[in-house]
Structures are given as structure tokens and as C-alpha cells.
């Protein structure tokens, strides 16, 4: 019964979000797209984090997706919409190949290597002048869907829905058991039949695909990109801060964090043109030190304490 209510609420929110273009102007829709992009990235980052691996390379896959899509249109004459699918698959395939190497690493070595990979992608794009346009970047012949604000919004929303769906699947399927077991105790996971490499690879490929897809959607919505935009470190920093603030190891946490920080970021950007990102650094520090479970974790804890008297811990009543 509790499930039914939450499904109804989720469906309601989804409908309202789909209907946004009917009553919002171009600027708010633009802000919404930016928030949704960060939200999708935050969720995808968290999906891998559930296995205990911290990626600092979100911007790398995002940028890779941007360029794969842009170059497929520009050099291969691909249909813009198809190029988004292509870019997502491309990012996934790259992650699959890199995974055989990178996923042998743990803790700080994994994190720093993902950061290094992002830089490698950026430098490669930077240096392949003839193919990638070099540091000046590439300009597409046009914006997808002729630049219709509503269509661009729905495209981005679609990407977000796919990401939420994937994350929800990770939460409700055996991926949840596999990733949590790996995060908590690899030895125990191994001796209970969990093929650690396989599940890490699935998580890495899926999250990279999602990040590549969001990058492709971004580039097709703006019609141009360059290495410093596509591989902007903010695409790593902001999602990370959002997921941490909202609460990690869940779908709802990064979503809450993205709404809070994404909207305030737009406001801050106008107030403080230089250095508004200091807020994100401070949020990361405060969350790690004082509320590692994030907002959602705190709310959950509070509601659990409140309900404790009324609930009996017993065998499953399913």
C-alpha cells in the first residue's frame, strides 16, 4: 500500500514535468534542462558509487559523448537524434574496453585514474585538429529539433527518465545486492558467488553510457562544443556535490540534491559571476564532515526514529 502511494506520487510528478513547457517560458525551461542534466549525471555517478568506486571522471564520459555525437553528425552525416544513441553506445563500448583495465583498481587509484582518463580524452580531442576541430571546437549545422524550446526540454527529460529508470532498476534488482555486497565486503561477496568484476563492469558500462548520452543531448541542444566546455570539470564537481548533499546510495538522494543545488546554482551564477563554485566546495566539506548520509538519509533516520514505537521488527510479512 505504501508502494502504491509512492508510485502514484512519482507518476504525478512525471506528468507535471512532462507538462512544464505548457506553462513555462524559454528561460525557465533552459534552467530546467541544466538542472536535469546535472541530475542525470549525479544519479549515474551514484549508481557506480553503490559499488564503492568513486569516479572523478564524469566529465570525461560526458565530453566523450558530446564529441562522439557532434562528430558523427558533422563528419558522418548522421541524423542528430540517432547520433545521441550512437554516442551513448560509443561511451558504453569505451567504458567496456577501459573497464578491463581500470576496474582492477580500487580506492584512490581508481578515482585518480578516472580523473586522468578524462584529461586524456580532453587532450586527444584538443590535438586531433583536423578531425575534432581542436581547441576551437566544432559547430553543428543546426540545433536538434530546430531549436524548439519544448522539444529540447523533452529530449533532456527523456534522458533523465532513462537514467532514473536505470537507477531504479539497480535499486530493485539483484544489482542492488551485488553492488552493496561489493561495497561492504569484497571477500564475503566473492565467497557467496558474486562475480565482482562482472558486476563492476556492468555498473561502469551502464553509468558511462548514461553520461555519454547526456553529453550528446547537451551538444545537440546547443549546436556547438569545444574541449573546455565538453570536458568542463564542473560536470564532475556539481553532480558529485549534488549526490553527496542529497544522500548517496539511492536514486532519490541525488535527485533532491540536484534540485536544491541546481536551482541555487543558477541564482548564484547571476549574483557572483566569479567563484560561485566555492559554494560547492564548501557543501562537499560540510556534508562529508557533518552529514555523510545527506539530506535524504537524515530525513529517513528522523522518520525511522519517529515510527519506531509503532513498528515491530519481525519476520517478513510479505
Amino acid at each position: 500500500m505504501k508502494n502504491k502511494t509512492s508510485y502514484a506520487i512519482a507518476a504525478g510528478i512525471a506528468v507535471i514535468m512532462i507538462a512544464f513547457p505548457a506553462f513555462l517560458g524559454a528561460y525557465p525551461l533552459n534552467v530546467a534542462r541544466s538542472v536535469m542534466t546535472y541530475m542525470a549525471l549525479a544519479i549515474s555517478w551514484d549508481m557506480l558509487l553503490r559499488s564503492g568506486q568513486i569516479s572523478f571522471g564524469i566529465a570525461g564520459l560526458f565530453g566523450l559523448g558530446s564529441y562522439a555525437s557532434a562528430l558523427a553528425v558533422l563528419r558522418g552525416g548522421m541524423d542528430p537524434f540517432l547520433s545521441i544513441v550512437f554516442a551513448a553506445v560509443f561511451a558504453g563500448v569505451m567504458a567496456y574496453a577501459l573497464g578491463f583495465v581500470v576496474l582492477r583498481l580500487r580506492s584512490m587509484y581508481f578515482s585518480i585514474t578516472t580523473l586522468a582518463l578524462m584529461e586524456i580524452f580532453r587532450i586527444i580531442i584538443h590535438n586531433l585538429h583536423d578531425f575534432s576541430g581542436g581547441p576551437e571546437g566544432v559547430v553543428l549545422p543546426g540545433v536538434i529539433f530546430k531549436g524548439s524550446a519544448s522539444a529540447l526540454y523533452w529530449l533532456c527529460l527523456g534522458g533523465l527518465f532513462i537514467t532514473i529508470g536505470a537507477s531504479y532498476y539497480f535499486e530493485k534488482s539483484k544489482m542492488h545486492l551485488a553492488l552493496t555486497a561489493i561495497r561492504n565486503d569484497e571477500t564475503s561477496a566473492r565467497s557467496n558467488g558474486v562475480d565482482i568484476f562482472k558486476y563492476l563492469l556492468i555498473a561502469f558500462v551502464v553509468t558511462s553510457t548514461l553520461q555519454g548520452m547526456m553529453g550528446a543531448i547537451q551538444v545537440q541542444s546547443y549546436g556547438f562544443t569545444m574541449p573546455d566546455t565538453a570536458f568542463d570539470g564542473n560536470f564532475t564537481l556539481l553532480p558529485l556535490a549534488m549526490a553527496l548533499l542529497g544522500g548517496v546510495h539511492s536514486t532519490i538522494g541525488p535527485m533532491a540534491g540536484a534540485v536544491l543545488l541546481g536551482v541555487s546554482a543558477e541564482w548564484l551564477k547571476l549574483q557572483i559571476p566569479y567563484g560561485h563554485l566555492v559554494v560547492y566546495g564548501i557543501i562537499i566539506i560540510i556534508v562529508i564532515l557533518f552529514m555523510p548520509q545527506g539530506i535524504v538519509g537524515m530525513v529517513r533516520k528522523a522518520s525511522r526514529t519517529g515510527r519506531r514505537s509503532g513498528r515491530k521488527a519481525g519476520a517478513s510479512n510479505e
Binding site: L105, M108, L277, V279, I284
Partner: protein
């Protein structure tokens, strides 16, 4: 094993000789770059080796020190070398404060929390500077920086050799500190086994604090030297964080002299690529490739053992 090491040494020496004959500047500039990398990586190695924390805000301390030097020198009209000691003291105090207020609180947290924490610290420091100073670059020029030597056809700048000097001094100084002084010996013991060190009565917390203060003092000194030859802007330190981590990982955690060797390898490889006009843009990729190779090599070796 010994044979393999000998073979590697011979190949390395041969490579250096060939390079010296063909493009001497690759070696000269390579060594100079190596000096700069090593001076910044060594303090990070010290923290990682003893406190076991990867400080992803490491380069940011260097950047802060460079700004502090810039302001001091601009307002008093003095040379950065005069500002070096006061700046080191200020940076060290700031480093100690950051340790006490943040990193110390996360020492017992999972390693990954510490990583994210210092990542956040780096962002906060960079962006605070961005807030006050904007992203505009600031530079000072000094005559002595352009000193050069001519040997026959060959002409090259010599100033950057100061970094090599500092790097060697740092290694010797730290070695003396860690093996000859009581505090240094205690730090070494804490680095190897914090629990054991605590049992024999060493104040682990105090040791961590002082190691942080020493490391940030060293980084502060180098920030002052850095601004004599380079422009400073808020994100100038970030690449040094990455490069430092790369070098420390290459040398192996706890191996401070090894950082020198790793720096030489990195500096010369980068300048080797820079020697070819068409490959110049790729020189930045060298250390990322090195870091990935080295880390992977280590992890695979570790698995076999």
C-alpha cells in the same frame, strides 16, 4: 631481479647519452621540469607516507602561497626570495588549521570520504581565490630569471635549475629530519604503524599535525619560488596535484627519494615530445599515460605476489 634492474639502468643511461648528443635541451629542460615537479610532489609524498591521506588540495596550497608572495612583493616591493620564509610560515599555519578543522575529523572515516573531502577542499580554495582575484593571471618579472648559458651553438636558460637544487635539498633535509630527530623518527614510526606508535607513547595526532605543517611549509616555499618564473591564477595548482600524485604513486608510497627519479622520467619524457613540433600538444598526455601504466603495473604485481 637484480639482472633486470641492471638492464633497466643500462637502457636508461644509453637513452640519456643518445638524447644528450641529439637534443641536449631535452635533458636540460627535462631536468629543470623534473626539479619543479619533485619539489611539489615531495611534500605530498610526505603526507601520503605518514598521514596516509591523498591531499587533492595539494597544488592549491602552492597556488595560495604564490598569491601570498605576489601580494607581499607587490606591496613591499621586495624579492620573492625574501618573502619565502614568511610565506612558508603563513602557508604552514593555514595548512595546520585546515588539518585540524577538516582532515583530522575525517581520519577515521572511510578512505573514500577523505578523498572527496580533500577534493572539496581544493575546489573551495580555488574558487575562493577566484572570488577575490578573478581568473586574471598575475605575473612578476625578474632579470635573473632569464639568465642563460651559451656552449657553442647551444644556448639555454639556467634559472630553472634552482628547482633541482631545492628538490635535492628537500630530499636531504627530510631524510635528516626523519632519521636523526626525535620528532622525525616518531613520524616515521607513525607512518609505518600508527597503532603501534600510539602504544609506545607517540602522540599520533600531534605527529600528523606537524607533518601537515611541515609539508605545507615546503609547498609554501615553493609557491614563492614558483611565482618568480610563472604567472599565477586560481587554477594554476590543480595540475600539480595530479602530477604530484602520479609521481608519488610511481615512486611508491613512503619512498621520498624515489620521487626524484620519477620526476626525472616525467620531465624528460615530456620534453622529448616537446622537441618535435608536431607532437608538442601531446606532451601533457605523458604523465596521464605514465600514471595509468604505473598504477596498473603495481596493481597487477600486487595481485601476483
Amino acid at each position: 631481479m637484480a639482472n633486470k634492474r641492471n638492464a633497466t639502468t643500462i637502457v636508461a643511461i644509453l637513452a640519456v647519452v643518445v638524447l644528450l648528443l641529439w637534443r641536449p635541451t631535452v635533458i636540460i629542460y627535462g631536468l629543470q621540469a623534473a626539479g619543479l615537479y619533485a619539489t611539489i610532489a615531495i611534500p605530498m609524498g610526505l603526507i601520503l607516507g605518514i598521514v596516509h591521506i591523498v591531499n587533492l588540495a595539494h597544488g592549491e596550497f602552492m597556488m595560495l602561497a604564490a598569491y601570498a608572495t605576489y601580494m607581499l612583493c607587490q606591496s613591499l616591493g621586495i624579492d620573492p626570495y625574501l618573502a619565502m620564509i614568511p610565506v612558508a610560515i603563513v602557508t604552514s599555519a593555514f595548512g595546520f588549521l585546515v588539518y585540524k578543522l577538516t582532515i583530522r575529523q575525517a581520519l577515521k572515516a572511510p578512505e573514500l570520504n577523505q578523498l572527496i573531502l580533500t577534493f572539496g577542499l581544493g575546489i573551495a580554495i580555488t574558487q575562493t581565490m577566484n572570488l577575490f582575484f578573478t581568473s586574471q593571471t598575475r605575473k612578476m618579472s625578474f632579470g635573473y630569471v632569464s639568465a642563460s648559458i651559451d656552449i657553442g651553438e647551444l644556448s639555454f636558460g639556467v634559472y630553472n635549475f634552482v628547482f633541482v637544487g631545492f628538490a635535492i635539498l628537500m630530499v636531504i633535509g627530510l631524510r635528516l629530519y626523519l632519521t636523526k630527530t626525535t620528532a622525525g623518527k616518531a613520524a616515521l614510526a607513525v607512518g609505518q604503524n600508527p597503532k603501534g606508535a600510539a602504544i609506545v607513547g607517540i602522540d599520533v595526532d600531534k605527529t600528523y599535525g606537524s607533518v601537515f605543517a611541515i609539508a605545507t611549509a615546503l609547498v609554501g616555499m615553493m609557491g614563492a619560488v614558483f611565482i618568480t618564473r610563472s604567472a599565477v591564477f586560481p587554477t594554476v595548482g590543480s595540475p600539480f596535484t595530479m602530477k604530484s600524485f602520479c609521481l608519488v604513486a610511481m615512486a611508491g608510497i613512503g619512498n621520498i627519494p624515489g620521487i626524484l627519479g620519477a620526476s626525472v622520467l616525467l620531465g624528460i619524457s615530456e620534453n622529448f615530445l616537446k622537441a618535435f613540433r608536431s607532437l608538442r600538444g601531446w606532451s601533457d598526455i605523458v604523465f596521464f599515460v605514465l600514471i595509468i601504466t604505473v598504477i596498473l603495473g603495481r596493481s597487477i604485481k600486487g595481485k601476483k605476489a
